[in-house]
Symmetry: D2
């Protein structure tokens, strides 16, 4: 960390800053330039907020040299993390495609979707049972009953299940049922929840907040990793911008940026990042071409009657077509869809 | 709610939409225009997401005519809500100024700040004990010990205390101690938390999320109001934009927009909306001139040694000067600072 | 266009709005609903700003049913426009790749780059001679001398040249030299320039403004088309958001959105939309996978010594690799790179 | 300027950077830290883009210590610039209020508005004759005929006139008629226009672009100042964000930020920054309370029939009320409205 003093900073101010750096357990490297005095703070700086020094008198600016996250950083973990769960491995050569409805609505709906998703080539099943809804008057999910239906769908299809968790009080029931805990965009900085999840050993799909930077997403991953739960997947799901022709703006740049900054797998959610069924396949292809390790896609047997998010849900036949296209892109990227193998295995009675 | 069909929508599609409108318990008003068929959906539409109709075949767009919130709307509650707690009333003629440190750090720090804030003219005391920190390695707050110190500060000064709550599991301990539950920007859409707070009868200060629209802020207020907790104050604390010269962008427009849309009091937080002590007073004045009902300001006896957010904290003497300026603006707006009276009362032994 | 009156609008207000609709040359279709009176304005509405009615007393909101652009709309021109110039055709089955340095710096630099770009597979050459620079102290371009060097490069390689025009006063000299007039992001709403270009018959590459919506980009295209110049290509080059890890945010969603809304070809500029050479190839692949008709890429023989934008320029060998990858993606999309053919033709002496 | 090398930068890379720094005419100050080597580049760095060094091999980041603008900076010109024109002085103790219609539409409209604006207390008259319109089909202004009408209005009322210039080819006719050249948001980075205006000696009102940072606004001012035209006023007119309840987001923070960074006067345009007549007065008061040196307000005798921007135009009586309120805020800020004096002078036959 480098602390650049103002041109007119007094020797007392420089001294006071040095004092604070030492108090923070860091070593000082002083450089008296012609235009500016620079105080290098050397040591374990990733756990120090820059504001600690920014507010001191005479300081012009504070510049980090190392990142504020460590466990999530590729610097300290150069090779890709591959996360395995049952037949599924994410972050390696295979591309994972998680598919399913926004909400679990009924037994027939989730079993039918699970079957269709699997046949089309999905590698995991998603479905919400606790729903974050902007309006208190909207459908809020089936709760534990929904978890049981999902468990039944898993038994039927062999697909691992990915379910959103909304509060630390749901941890106990969730880890009993689900294969992957999904943290939604609105909870990306629900630090109590992150900490509670960090204490489990259940894999996590962490979605980026609507206005979170890539660095903040990595800091939230760091919360979970710091608790000892190392199986974290990151998910780009669109950010909020001024553009209104789509529900969100897919930050496709975030994919190569994340792949460069971290060893954790990166998943793209083109359903929420576009908000329109019409655009999902194009953005799914783009995501895999940009280097994403997987996709999460909303699929519903009858989008027009879905209780939530029907606008961007694909019908099973549309999803099957998407899988075809994505599979071809994956091949060019030197990768393959997990899906086909899982499907074969299932056909052979493995699931 | 008006559902505008595409120019080439078939009679079957129109029929299917009408069917869905009826199924939602609404009456249908059909208008066959030259360019478009419009289906009016009449009745209790505020609890229906527009997407329920947007995704149907043949629909071009769905336009709400009434707002998606009701209890928060000025339409159904034209006069201003005035929220009283002890000597403090917010939303009426008086301007409330909540002041205090970002975090409670120690007994001497909080008692000293409380005393200084009161002397300068604050009407309530703020202080964090559970801190939402981007980094898992940063200071996370004193917890219940901090609540006890705040209670002591209240006893000493007579100032009501405003404390951030981060999780539904903290409700029980928080309502025992605090006068106002603050919901932070990162939790504005933590719906489980909102619901839990709605079940209490403790007043709430609800902060706008970093990228939340004004309408979403009102929807979050609706969650709390729908639970029966009517004492909700809204807080503009800056939104995230592309501009980097300040930490956030104060959405000053939101103040008249909110005062027009809702009867709930509106508070401005210029400390977080600017992020720089240098700019806090100017934006505090602007907020009151724009019609805000109060301010929440970070004050610290020694900003340079604060464990968090020192960069935008005011020293007590800076805060006293701000109070002078704001008081003059309030007068022009036909209002007065609660502060002086509370202070007088305290001097006369009332507090 | 539909004008929705407020619930409490008076008959006089309704009458006044109807009067204005008629005065605008439109027919009126009146619908008296239970909750709202709706005035349909039927006729040539694409040239009427909605504000013309929004500001009238008693109006709640005005909703367009048809788009505000017409010549650019796919509604009135369903098949893709294919723009041809010399050997190059853009918008059909072939993918065009425009490559070259940010600025023309010297004869050797531009000839060398043109040759290298062509050998790697570029289908056109770009190069700036009038440079829009944020700082008045930065290099501003070689002017007409640069145009002559570009013309020489074209003669040498057979590649058509694409050059940015910054002002209507440059039209005369530019059309003498260039094959495609590029309008930069900062000039997307320089309406005098758009009008002047609309009066020429030189093909145009119109870049999206930093904070322009997709609809505004199409409105700017409409300016050029309305002047009779039909050969307009649109270019997504990143928008400005809160994210700082890349220079801009590539709005990849804009590609399928534009392909759906307009018949004009859509080009992606991953050099500016990322701002980092490291990320250009990943985003180029994503763009083609999302359905873009071409790419514009900055290439420089020695990025480290470029006078501008060296940070995101590719070296010729990096560009050659990108072409390989993009060519494979194109094939999956049922398309091919123009490049190979042009290159073959050139080798056979055709260029 | 400080160039921070990567931890693993080679001595050759450090040497190459030093070479480039020297070639740029700067002195080198080398600091070998424990974690990083820092190369200080000392001298005239404000005219060097940081990218010149960012792209060199082994460079981690480049940090400016001094601002990239100089003539606009308060650092080199600590006292406020006061710009005088006729009876009007902007940037000193007096607050200037520029008022008038979006477009000059007819002789009676502009003369009537000018008279009403003056009586209400305006200190200058605005009116557009060349209009930047998003749609090519919208009204584009009266051109030189409009300038003559404005000149007549000036003669009648004594109010200086402020008119938007859209292209460098309009400079000649504009400087013949107008007192202040207004540069619109869409032209803030039309560098050819800025340069042409810099060559005149007519005062300038430079509006911030929709997505321009404060620093970019100052860089555009620098273009004009560098040409020798020192009478530049800056104008905050709202930025584009995700919020849709107002047309733009007033960046009220920009007012104290600009007053801190530059000596140039700062004007607020609450008409465009809100887009709704209802909110203009609140934001006008806020602007003056935040330290703005003046306001520019749209006033129209009959907003409902205005050919453009009627939605946010005030009626003369609303404007008169705003002037009253703003005058009181000005007084608290230790300032006064120019308006009253000008008005008195006019009454006494001075105008």
């Amino acid at each position: 960390m480098m602390i650049i003093m103002k041109a007119n900073a007094t020797p007392q101010q420089v001294e006071a800053v040095i004092e604070q750096v030492k108090r923070a357990g860091l070593n000082v490297h002083l450089s008296q330039g012609v235009e500016a005095t620079i105080i290098g703070a050397v040591g374990e700086t990733h756990n120090l907020p820059v504001e600690r020094f920014e507010r001191l008198d005479g300081v012009q600016l504070v510049q980090r040299i190392t990142q504020p996250y460590k466990l999530a950083s590729r610097q300290f973990h150069p090779e890709d993390s591959v996360i395995t769960l049952d037949g599924l491995s994410v972050g390696g050569n295979e591309i994972a495609v998680i598919a399913g409805p926004c909400s679990v609505e009924s037994r027939s709906q989730i079993l039918e979707t699970a079957q269709a998703a699997k046949e089309a080539g999905a590698s995991a099943l998603r479905g919400g049972v606790f729903k974050p809804r902007t309006s208190p008057y909207a459908f809020q999910g089936l709760g534990e009953e929904g978890l049981e239906l999902l468990a039944e769908a898993r038994e039927l299809t062999g697909l691992p299940i990915v379910v959103e968790i909304m509060s630390q009080v749901q941890v106990e029931v969730m880890v009993k049922y689900v294969d992957v805990l999904q943290v939604g965009a609105r909870n990306m900085q629900n630090f109590n929840l992150l900490r509670a999840i960090g204490a489990t050993r259940t894999p996590v799909l962490l979605k980026r907040g609507l206005s979170a930077t890539v660095e903040e997403l990595l800091m939230s991953a760091e919360y979970i990793l710091a608790g000892g739960n190392t199986r974290v997947m990151l998910c780009e799901r669109g950010i909020r911008t001024f553009e209104t022709s789509t529900r969100n703006t897919t930050d496709i740049n975030a994919i190569p940026v994340l792949k460069h900054a971290t060893h954790l797998p990166v998943i793209l959610d083109p359903s929420h990042s576009t908000g329109h069924a019409n655009y999902v396949a194009a953005i799914a292809r783009a995501g895999i071409a940009a280097g994403a390790d997987g996709l999460i896609i909303e699929v519903h047997p009858d989008p027009a009657s879905a209780v939530s998010d029907g606008k961007h849900s694909l019908k099973p036949e549309q999803f099957a077509e998407l899988i075809q296209q994505v599979g071809q892109i994956a091949q060019i990227m030197g990768r393959s869809l997990v899906t086909s193998r899982a499907f074969q295995a299932a056909k052979n009675g493995w699931a």
